[in-house]
Amino acid sequence: MSRWAGLGPVIAALFLTLAACATREQSALDPAGPQSGKIAALWWFFFWLLGVIFVLVMVVMLWTLVRREQTGTCEPKLQRTVTTASVATVIILLVLLVASITAGKATADLAKKPNPLTISVTGNQWWWQFRYLNSDPSQVLTTANEIHIPVGRSILLQGQSNDVIHSFWAPNLHGKRDLIPSRVTTEYIEADKPGIYRGQCAEFCGLQHAHMAFYVIAEPAGKFNAWMQAQLQPSLEPANPVLSQGQRAFLNYACVYCHQVRGTPAAGQNGPDLTHFGSRSTIAAGTLPNTPGNLGGWILNPQRIKPGTKMATVAVKPEDLQPMIQYLESLK
């Protein structure tokens, strides 16, 4: 029996790995919405069905290995086995086909919910632009790398790309949706429960594909509306001389050619909107936590943190750096 003794820990480790998946902020096995619930159900259905088949095949194979050779002809028996196996295969394939069509229809049907919140998702090398669309232009909000959504409301995502093909994937909420240049792809998502769900680009898009993450923050409608109204405001005026100095520095360097801070002359459209930068939890598309230290490193040498990033290396003078960091972090 010592031969099989090692198998126990291996199986235990496999199950532990699966268990670890079940409680993560980025996992298709921890569904937080109706679409991902359907996908997870299908996934588990496949897992158990294929698991049972695998075990059966293994058992039969072991049995043929250990049983003693029998005398006599076995031709008729073989034919029966082939017939049985063929029928079983067809039945299993049909079951799987029906299951995936059912899951596909179930996720598609969610599009029929009325009054969705429309968010335009634009993939860039290597960050995400989100625009909350509205027929009233004063209610259109542009932000980056972090979206807040109200729980229980259908969200219509309109995906686009500015350069190459990207793919929007928040596993806790839905499957992948490619963002293709010069066309709009749509997807409906919905969150059942409040939470922070991480997502990332799921289509290889160049050097920093791995550092192209985003966060979906699902919260109750009241909290979401408060967030939305705060984000629609122009940026805060500098409250003290240091922040004023930081704002002047920000406006004087090359930052303004790419970044927008509403309420100031900075109106660049090439990089992430920084109007409420301080309210975001990460910088550089989920690469680093948004702390003053990380921000300083990112401003001074973005190519070291994210080699190949389109953010320019700008020679910021030491006396300007600290006020600039403080100013950006104050943009709540």
Binding site: A254, A312, T313
Partner: protein
Amino acid sequence: MCSRCHSQAISLAALFACCVITTSSCQREKRDIQPSPTRLAIYGDAARQSTLRPGGPVLPQPVVSNPYNGSAYDISEGQRLYDWYNCSGCHFAGGGGIGPPLIKKEWIYGGEPANLFDTIVKGRPNGMPSWGGRIPEYQIWQLVAYVRSLNGEQPTSATASRQDTIEPNPQNIQNRVPGKTK
């Protein structure tokens, strides 16, 4: 030596030669991984001072070459920046519009890399803004490399076989030589 060993040796040598040839393309994609935001002795700074001095001899002109000459990566970065910094707003896709064309033989302020750099850094009368101290020098060199590529002044191995902009005349796409626009 048997003929078989001989042919084996030849194919090994050929394989080795192929490997060596492959490395030559590294030059085309050579990237300045962490470009320094400030370069010493840039032409723009040197050219800001007049070459004439009252009562003194004429100062020698610095000899400057574009560090990104022939680099496919930097030419494509220059192409991206050409739109990002809105060069295309006046010069359009290089054919000119509000501003003069950038695809031409005769340059008012010189068409050499150092002249183009100088023009971008200092700006020129009648609308060309000064970018010196506004955007990093390495990006200005990338823009210079791209503008030179529009005029076919970059090796064809480093330039894109077509532009991303709309080509009004389909024949131009079929007949054009890579790196030679229009």
